[in-house]
């Protein structure tokens, strides 16, 4: 009976290992990173919603030929106007439309396909693994920008086509990381032990491998992926293959504004460039901070 009593007492002492303790243990710098990252992400989401609802200070397409390249603050244009007299702030807000859904699509493609193939290769092994790795290397060995330009030449310079390619070319990256995690667990004979415990294969794959072991990997891939999407669009816009005028994107705003930089009209390209800088920084720091907190690297 004493055993039962102890058992009852012990039960009172179990605290729920909630996520809260994890956040409490986290280092201040990581919290700062995550805080800044979340701030940027919420700004991006807010801009997307405002842009979709058309709730903007000015019409982003409306040209005011009397106010070409007006400096910030003139006539209610908070960030000034561009070379066609369009409001830069409104164009910045609408510009996120070029990245938001296409970027999510790219990330979804990379993570879904990468996970499927990674699990196939890692869990099955043998011939399947060889085939998947071969395909991955094939995709990896092709220069990404060339592939994107080929697709643009074959179809049209649509941001969705570009982002599908970005997603597909990211697949080998996710694949090899997922496969690495599975191999690591296999070599530690954890998977065998889990099967012996009576766990079903799908529970092992989805819960133990993907959820417990690859969770942080997905978060990092997602945040870095979003940053990458913005960078790729910017470089393509600079080459003139990105989102096409008059639809604004941060890339083509920098590109078109750069022509007037030497005339002292710096705000035309500096504002979108700063937006790119802070957004990418935000996504990177968010990924980094979450990684440190989830993996408990600094706290233990």
């Amino acid at each position: 009976m004493t055993g039962m009593k102890q058992y009852a007492q012990a039960s009172l002492m179990v605290t729920d290992p909630s996520s809260r303790s994890m956040w409490k243990q986290a280092a201040a710098i990581d919290l700062l990173y995550v805080g800044y990252g979340l701030f940027i992400v919420s700004l991006v989401v807010l801009s997307y919603i405002l842009g979709s609802l058309n709730f903007l200070p000015h019409n982003p397409q409306e040209m005011d030929l009397s106010l070409l390249m007006a400096p910030p603050g003139v006539a209610g244009h908070l960030l000034g106007t561009d070379f066609m007299g369009r409001d830069i702030l409104s164009r910045l807000i609408v510009g996120i439309q070029a990245y938001f859904v296409p970027g999510l699509l790219a990330i979804a493609i990379a993570i879904t396909l990468g996970t499927v193939f990674g699990v196939l290769a890692g869990y099955r092994g043998g011939g399947v693994e060889t085939a998947v790795l071969y395909l991955g290397n094939l995709v990896d060995s092709f220069p990404r920008l060339v592939l994107i330009l080929l697709v643009i030449a074959a179809f049209k310079p649509d941001i969705y086509y570009i982002m599908i390619i970005v997603g597909l070319t990211n697949v080998p990256n996710v694949l090899s990381q997922v496969k690495g995690k599975i191999n690591f667990l296999k070599q530690k004979n954890f998977i065998e032990a889990a099967v012996a415990l009576g766990l079903k294969n799908r529970v092992i794959i989805f819960k133990h491998i993907l959820w417990y072991n690859c969770r942080s990997l997905f978060i990092i891939q997602a945040t870095l992926g979003m940053a990458e999407v913005i960078l790729i669009e910017t470089s393509l816009s600079y080459l003139g293959f990105g989102v096409q005028e008059p639809i604004p994107s941060w890339g083509n705003m920098v590109q078109s504004g750069a022509n007037y930089l030497l005339q002292g009209k710096f705000w035309l390209s500096t504002t979108p460039a700063l937006a790119i800088l802070f957004t990418i920084l935000g996504f990177h720091l968010l990924g980094d901070g979450l990684n440190n907190i989830l993996e408990g690297r600094r706290s233990t």
């Binding site: 039960s11 179990v14 889990a194 415990l197």
Partner: protein
């Protein structure tokens, strides 16, 4: 101890195909074992004698082709009676020469699916297994408490997470982990090897299985921790009366924990009987292999008189290329003129030399 047989292994064959050498690794060839309700069967043997493969075959965990190819593994407990290899032979085709399997064709996918169906309700619930290297058998990213809780929810009637948590904590106490409430939230890397082994034991026992297979539970732990784990297993055995198949190459561990012992060599059972008859035999009526193994244990007289320990000469038999005669013949030091010819050419069958004591040796056959 009742006389119900929990597990009966008959004529088990587990081969692997070594593609590079175009030959079979005959890891287990014709093993017969029986485990009664409540007893601990110690399986003793050198590395590579087929002990672990026998255990993995029972669990249906041998997946490399061609894997288990024939035999009978009968498991009966709690009204459940089942041959764990039932109907699996339809996925395999053997080609025999002189009564020995020379080639195998196996439908691995079909075999795998069938095994999953056969073992679905048995793995973890009825037969649980403890592995060697406990630290690597736990999920490194999940706290040990969560893992035990999951095992409880999976294999017992307790589905409510709160109750399962309490049950897990109860088991952590049962396996004598100090301050279990703190350890509950530890990740495996935060625990020592001995503690991880205790966690593994807790996970295995949480389902209150009919049969526990302990595969070298003390290997990979320090000597002091080994002693503690053995002590824990002895205590649990006394309290829970779990039927156990204990696999080890450590005669000390086997001697302390087992009721009966089976000695394996080269994929065959060489001798089986009660622990007294085999490890503490007075009249020395053992298989020469067992005698040689016992000669490897340092005793007081060795230290006092500075006698060198007797090692068994030669290497463990190459299971890819097994000679026709007795498997231990090349290393045996008790062969004499009377039986030399038989040893070389024919493999003896197990012979009951006293009730319950079986030996596979020509020494015990009178011409």
């Amino acid at each position: 101890m009742s006389e119900t047989i929990i597990l009966r292994i008959e004529n088990l064959h587990t081969f692997f195909y070594a593609r590079s050498k175009q030959a079979f690794v005959r890891a287990v060839e014709g093993v017969d074992l029986e485990i009664m309700q409540g007893e601990t069967l110690g399986v003793l043997g050198e590395s590579g004698s087929g002990k672990t493969i026998t255990a993995l075959s029972v669990m249906g965990l041998v997946s490399t082709e061609p894997g288990v190819i024939s035999g009978k593994i009968e498991f009966s407990s709690k009204g459940l009676q089942q041959n764990l290899l039932q109907d699996l032979d339809q996925y395999v085709q053997h080609q025999r020469k002189n009564g020995r399997i020379m080639a195998v064709q196996k439908d691995c996918g079909g075999w795998q699916r069938k095994t999953e169906r056969l073992m679905g309700d048995i793995r973890g619930k009825e037969i649980a297994m403890i592995f060697q290297n406990p630290q690597s058998s736990l999920n490194p990213f999940v706290t040990v408490g969560k893992q035990i809780t999951e095992a409880v929810q999976l294999n017992t009637e307790i589905k409510n997470s709160r109750e399962a948590q309490q049950r897990a904590l109860h088991w952590l106490e049962r396996v004598k982990i100090d301050s279990p409430r703190l350890r509950y939230h530890n990740h495996p890397y935060g625990l020592s090897g001995g503690m991880c082994q205790r966690v593994m034991i807790a996970m295995a026992l949480a389902a209150e299985p009919s049969l526990l297979i302990a595969d070298e539970p003390t290997t990979g732990l320090d000597a002091t921790i080994q002693a503690k784990v053995v002590e824990l297993l002895m205590e649990l055995k006394a309290v829970l009366n779990t039927t156990t198949m204990l696999i080890s190459h450590d005669m000390e561990v086997i001697g302390r924990l087992s009721d009966r012992v089976a000695v394996m060599y080269g994929g065959r059972v060489m001798e089986s009987g009660s622990v007294q008859e085999i490890l503490r035999s007075k009249d020395g009526s053992n298989h020469p292999y067992t005698t040689a193994l016992l000669g490897c244990i340092p005793e007081e007289k060795h230290i006092k008189d500075k006698i060198t320990l007797q090692a068994i000469e030669g290497d463990v038999i190459d299971t890819m290329n097994i000679p026709g005669g007795c498997r231990f013949y090349p290393r045996c030091n008790q062969k004499n003129d009377r039986i030399n010819q038989s040893c070389k050419e024919h493999e003896p069958a197990l012979k009951e030399i006293s009730p319950g004591h079986w030996v596979r040796c020509w020494l015990y056959y009178d011409e």
